[in-house]
Subunit: 233 residues, 2 copies
């Protein structure tokens, strides 16, 4: 069954131009059933009442027998990926794969050695669309938010923070207890500075290994999230 | 120190046009030291004797005090990534990240549901160049071979084979004993067929989980290799 993201799960849902276009591309006809999800854990089944592609409007009616908050595909505690701004289009790939691998939100970071110093509104918007699309494709009921960059020095996290660090021999899986929200953090192309790393550790972050090789900035976050996914969550 | 791949570690090493161009781009001058590696675990330090970019030829002299077979960045047993042919340029990203994450070789597979049915000689050559470049950048002494596709039904592996399978609840890390060579296998866009999966299991392969979400064909291999890297190897 096709999946459509809606603003809110409700008895009758009116969709805007983008979602309507998506239904149109899928060649759905009035009367057909789709899955709807709100990106915050709510989902259900709905029937397409009408589809007006010219007007960019579609209406769905919720089937009351098939409503539920399904978190089957979500981790026991939310996992945030905190990732430095990266050059070019690399963040698009990171956001896409991080969404598949279960990140509940993606916090962009401004760091000392980053080659990218800012992100434009359009690019941020595009990352959010990518997260939404990846959530749909991987059949998640939660769409990760992609949050405006903050300076690493001012970043406040909740729960446990694990940071990929070449020198560490601590294993990520040894620190994965699911008793608090989890953040995995990875740096920019130039790595985190020594001062940034010390600051994080002083605030209680734990450094973890990703093996003895040098990973690119776009590979490290996926290795961390892949390691979590491989524990079954 | 810059790293240069050579055909064979020897007292005097003559480089061909491609490696010479690389040295030229790095603006290396005769007398400067570089690291040399042969892609099979041998490496050492050498001094650039001469560099003739017009002729595409450079000569390096090995420094006998700095020769060694260094496997510090390699896994205790070789890890093979066996991966189905994928559409478009997806294999390039997989090969690049798999090399960073420690794969010792990459075996391409022909599978039932694959959308890509073959790979051209040029494309295969390009994947090999990507593996070589990624090995250099991640400071590995082994360059993974990218092996011509074989039919999954005829594929013979050595040691342990772990295959990503949505239905499994077995953890990859529980099967990671390093007492034999390891192969991690992942399917094409359409997944492995039921018959293919049964055949693999009948031959002793183990199915492992990568969490409850649907992963794209290009993400699953990286999640498996990332999970291994996160164990410190």
């Amino acid at each position: 069954m096709h999946r459509v993201q809606v603003t809110e799960i409700a008895g009758v849902m009116t969709l805007g131009p983008q979602a309507t276009r998506h239904l149109h591309v899928l060649r759905l006809q009035p009367g057909e059933r789709v899955q709807v999800f709100d990106g915050r854990g709510g989902q259900g089944e709905a029937v397409l009442l009408d589809l007006l592609p010219g007007e960019g409007r579609a209406t769905l009616e919720l089937q009351p027998d098939a409503l539920g908050t399904v978190r089957g595909a979500e981790t026991p505690q939310p996992v945030t990926l905190a990732v430095a701004l990266l050059k070019g289009d690399k963040l698009a790939d990171v956001v896409r794969a991080a969404t598949e691998l279960g990140a509940a939100s993606i916090q962009l970071l401004l760091t000392q050695h980053a080659e990218a110093r800012e992100i434009g509104a359009q690019k941020l918007q595009r990352l959010r669309r990518i997260a939404s699309e990846a959530a749909r494709q991987s059949e998640r009921s939660v769409t990760p938010g992609v949050l405006e960059p903050v300076k690493l020095g001012a970043y406040q996290w909740n729960g446990t923070l694990l940071v990929a660090h070449p020198g560490s021999s601590t294993l990520l899986t040894d620190l994965l207890t699911w008793d608090a929200p989890l953040t995995v953090l990875s740096g920019p192309e130039g790595g985190l500075s020594g001062a940034e790393m010390q600051d994080l550790l002083a605030q209680g972050a734990k450094a973890v290994t990703l093996g003895p090789r040098i990973l690119r900035a776009e590979t490290a976050p996926l290795a961390m999230l892949g390691a979590i996914a491989a524990t079954g969550y």
